[in-house]
Symmetry: C2
Subunit: 253 residues, 2 copies
């Protein structure tokens, strides 16, 4: 048997009172999770914290220590409630400086938009030693400080920053998945699911029920880093469902 491939993990801290108040539906968790999966990095945990320095520092320090990478979203804009840079610098134990390249980028961006002012210049502030992550939409860059990646709160801007980072982070074994749908109550096939998972080392089967117009169904997601074991587990599950007269729908319902 070959050596187990290394699992590389990331965590995410979503910073924002607007998420905790229910005003804004978060989109960054799913977006960053999906992007990380493609990079071969597993999103291990997420915390949503308010715009408060102590809460950000606690989350950043706990999560950056036990994951390969830490992402944050939110709080890197020009207004008084944007405190992420200062909080991350505090967590890392470094000062905050104006990054010359970020300043130059912002000067260029705002040249035709009223010029740089104190608020706009705030977006050139970074923790000492940090690098910039390009933002093709609004100029103001994302920031990499140690293993912490500071992204925007607005999902489209974060999408652009993720594009810029694609392929640059070291990943590990990609978690592969197959989805199988079935018109069945998951409670009818619970034993089959558990037994099939048990029989295929390194595979996990997740069961996600739904109800559509009174009809019960479920999607079963099989995950593994090993493509052969994943295929075997998926085949076994499909065969097991067919054996009880519940044909599987490849790709899910």
């Amino acid at each position: 048997m070959s050596e187990s491939p290394r699992i590389v993990t990331a965590a995410l801290v979503v910073i924002g009172d607007e998420i905790l108040s229910g005003r804004t539906q978060d989109k960054n968790i799913a977006q960053i999770a999906t992007w990380l999966g493609i990079q071969g990095i597993r999103l291990a945990e997420v915390r949503v914290v308010p715009d408060r320095t102590d809460a950000i520092v606690e989350a950043v320090n706990t999560l950056r220590a036990r994951n390969d990478y830490l992402f944050t979203t939110g709080g890197i804009g020009p207004t008084h409630d944007d405190i992420t840079v200062d909080a991350v610098a505090e967590a890392l134990g470094v000062g905050v400086i104006v990054h010359p390249e970020a300043r130059a980028i912002l000067e260029g961006y705002y040249a035709t938009r009223g010029g740089l002012n104190d608020a706009r210049l705030r977006m050139a502030r970074v923790p000492e030693g940090a690098k910039l992550i390009p933002n093709r939409y609004t100029g103001a860059p994302g920031i990499q400080a140690a293993n912490v990646y500071l992204m925007a709160g607005v999902p489209q801007i974060t999408a652009g920053m993720l594009d810029a980072l694609s392929g640059t982070l070291e990943g590990g074994a990609r978690l592969l998945s197959e989805t199988v749908g079935c018109w069945v109550h998951e409670s009818e096939v619970a034993t089959l699911l558990g037994d099939t998972e048990q029989a295929h080392a390194g595979c996990q089967i997740g069961s996600y029920p739904f109800w559509t117009e009174g009809r019960a169904g479920a999607n079963f997601v099989i995950r593994s880093t090993d493509p052969l074991m994943l295929a075997a587990c998926t085949r076994a599950l499909i065969a097991g469902l067919e054996a009880i007269g519940r044909p599987a729908v490849a790709g899910g319902i």
Copy 2:
């Protein structure tokens, strides 16, 4: 001046590999946040953790200790990956029992759906001493164990459970909010926002920028538990925006 009203807080633990893989877009954070706000309870922090006992126990024990209430979503179904009841019981240091009333509910629900089996009976298991939260959709109840409220992962089912809980939890001062929109770069009014917040004790102003067809705008959300201070702060912000020729849009854009 009157005594400050007590702030009542809750935390939320979202349990589910499907959220961390990016497969499923979480809807429960916004749904529970909004519902809590109406109950006079503030959502203080959220964690998303995988389907792993140690991760659930850590999050539950940290968050239930420092908040009045803790909610969880996910992992209370009939299949092998549903481990929330056992993990919460472990966190609380109690055993797991079959709740007689939950068993009776499930016997009734499944009477015309193939009868109770071992998997379905799993949904009657609760931490010792727990109470049930009615689920009008699929029978299987939510669970209250000490200050921990275990809800479903499927958002519609959780919505029904929240309905059943409405008005039953002790709340505190409601956090009130007003939203003001404006076609302006937030970086043009950063000083105005900060100064206006400073001048109105107990008010926070959040600034949420957006770009629509190349045009920059922002919504400003003013929050306070004091309705008079909230109104004064909102009026001051609207006046400040008008003074620089940027008329405010009441209710946001």
